[in-house]
Amino acid sequence: MLKITNLTATVDDGAKIILNGLSLTVPKGEVHAIMGPNGAGKSTLSYVLTGRDGYDVTDGTVTLNGEDLLEMEPEERAAKGLFLSFQYPLEIPGVPTLTFLRTAMNAQLKARGEGPISAPDFMKKARAIGKQLKMTPEMLRRPLNVGFSGGEKKRMEIFQMMMLEPSFLVMDETDSGLDVDALRIVADGVNALRSPDRGMLIITHYQRLLDYIVPDAVHVLSGGQIKASGGADLAKTLEKEGYDAYV
């Protein structure tokens, strides 16, 4: 379970408040969507959850399965099972995708006190998931994300997510840059990961993705706070009426 209470975060040494007393609980096994206008603080929330530098948490708490996330380094949070699918995935020149991913996987296993995955097991898994996501072997051989289109990068995020099998995943505008076919492939992957042990937070600006991944709850984020919450149909209302009522 992810539990965010009264989270307040600033940038520029406190000069600018971006998250302003945000509270939200995502129980195990549930998929929640966060929707909101541009500049609402959606990506900021994803970065504060994962521990990126440059944001100061001035108030509030965040726990994942009862453990204080805010005290942990980004890599410790990852080892606890927190995964962020970035709105803008990075290119890492010179580091082949599978080398990168295997390093990440083994680092997480090590942090959890487990032994590394064997090379054949890793390759077998990579091939199976790559096939499911319709990725070419060539894409997996290239340096991570280098020369990829926006949509390919998003698919690569989902590939990593399915390989790492996180216990809580945050997806930041994973749908942007995807055409309808890619959207369906990605949604199938995400749906396959739905399980009673796994929570998901899906950040999106449009409700399009939510036609494929039906959420248990929808929240409206605006001005750094959750302004409204509801069921899956709230997304449809927002699509029709926009965010004007919440800004």
């Binding site: 994962t50 890599e75 990852a78 990075l90």
Partner: protein, 338 residues
């Protein structure tokens, strides 16, 4: 007695403004400054070794190598002989030496100059003559102690259709200067790469001068630098393209990462072009590790030190090349930093 110190190059000279050899020698007082270096090169099939007259030259460093050595050694590969096994010049660690290596027409040789010294002064002057159609592959690694002063000057003369490939990796010392002077005397092909990785108060200088006398040569020169602590990296690169050297295609790059605020990098890439139909470029960047990439890697679970090492390794390998032994040395250095 010939007073060597007064002749040493110093920061008052344009080519030495960032690598003050004289004051480093004055501070370190190496006792082998005027000594000859012990060099043994064994003759083998298709390779002769003779003692020849020394050649003096450009400045005090070459003159010292010529005068203070125990005689110039000349290695010759006859025409058409292509060597599979490299010639190893390893662990030249004290004093002055001059070596001439001549590769005959359509012959080939690779030379490994891998050195590590604990202390002292090393001045090595190597003159390569690569005849028509011949090829030279040169790999240089220096892993010296912090007090070593090392100067290596390779003067490479390339005749028509020669190829020259060079890879250099240095971890610096009190002062290390790896200077390569290439004269392109015909249409030739040159690929040079290099890297310096420096910690503590180490200093390394990679200086590459390439002179184009004739049309049609292709040159690629890429140097990567990584400096941390109070180390200092120096890159000087120059293409001198003379009027007849039309259709020269030459690119020079220096890219460096500064991992601490107290480290220093000085870089001077220069083009001097007198021909009008050429494609010459130079580029120079000095930056920090990409913090966004660092965060991305850490978000996937890779610990900070490992993420740094992976990014730095990728940065260096992209420029230095993928020679396995060199990559392993880069990794060892990175392991020692975390």
């Amino acid at each position: 007695m010939f007073d060597v110190v007064t002749h040493l190059p110093h920061r008052g000279l344009e080519e030495w403004k960032w690598s003050d050899l004289k004051s480093t020698v004055e501070a370190q007082k190496p006792d082998d400054l005027s000594q000859p270096m012990q060099v043994d090169i064994a003759a083998r099939d298709g390779l002769t070794v003779t003692h020849t007259e020394p050649t003096d030259g450009l400045d005090a460093m070459t003159n010292m190598a010529a005068i203070l050595s125990s005689g110039t050694l000349t290695v010759r590969v006859p025409d058409d002989v292509r060597h599979e096994q490299p010639l190893k010049l390893t662990d030249l660690r004290s004093g002055n030496a001059q070596i001439v290596i001549e590769i005959g027409k359509d012959a080939s040789l690779s030379v490994e100059e891998h050195h590590s010294a604990d202390a002292g002064f090393v001045n090595l002057d190597v003159r390569y003559i690569v005849r028509e159609g011949a090829s030279l592959t040169r790999s240089v690694v220096t892993q010296d102690g912090a007090d070593v002063i090392r100067h290596v000057r390779a003067s490479v003369t390339l005749w028509a259709d020669a190829t020259f490939k060079q890879t250099q990796l240095t971890f610096g010392s009190a002062l290390t200067r790896l200077e390569t002077r290439v004269a392109c005397m015909g249409k030739v092909s040159v690929e040079m790469s290099g890297a310096y990785l420096l910690s503590d108060k180490r200093h390394a200088d990679i200086t590459n001068y390439i002179d184009f006398a004739t049309p049609g040569s292709t040159v690629r020169d890429a140097v990567a630098g990584v400096v941390t602590d109070k180390a200092r990296g120096v890159f000087q690169g120059k293409f001198n393209v003379r009027r007849p050297a039309q259709q020269t295609d030459a690119v020079m790059r220096h890219d460096a990462l500064m991992l601490s605020d107290t480290a220093k990098i000085n870089a001077k890439p220069e083009l001097e072009i007198y021909a009008d139909d050429v494609l010459c470029e130079h580029g120079n960047t000095i930056g920090q590790l990409d913090e966004q990439a660092m965060f991305y890697m850490r978000q996937r679970g890779i610990p900070k030190a490992q993420a740094r090492a992976l990014l730095i390794e990728a940065f260096v390998v992209a420029r230095l090349g993928e020679d396995e032994a060199m990559v392993a040395l880069v990794r060892d250095w990175l392991d020692g930093q975390s």
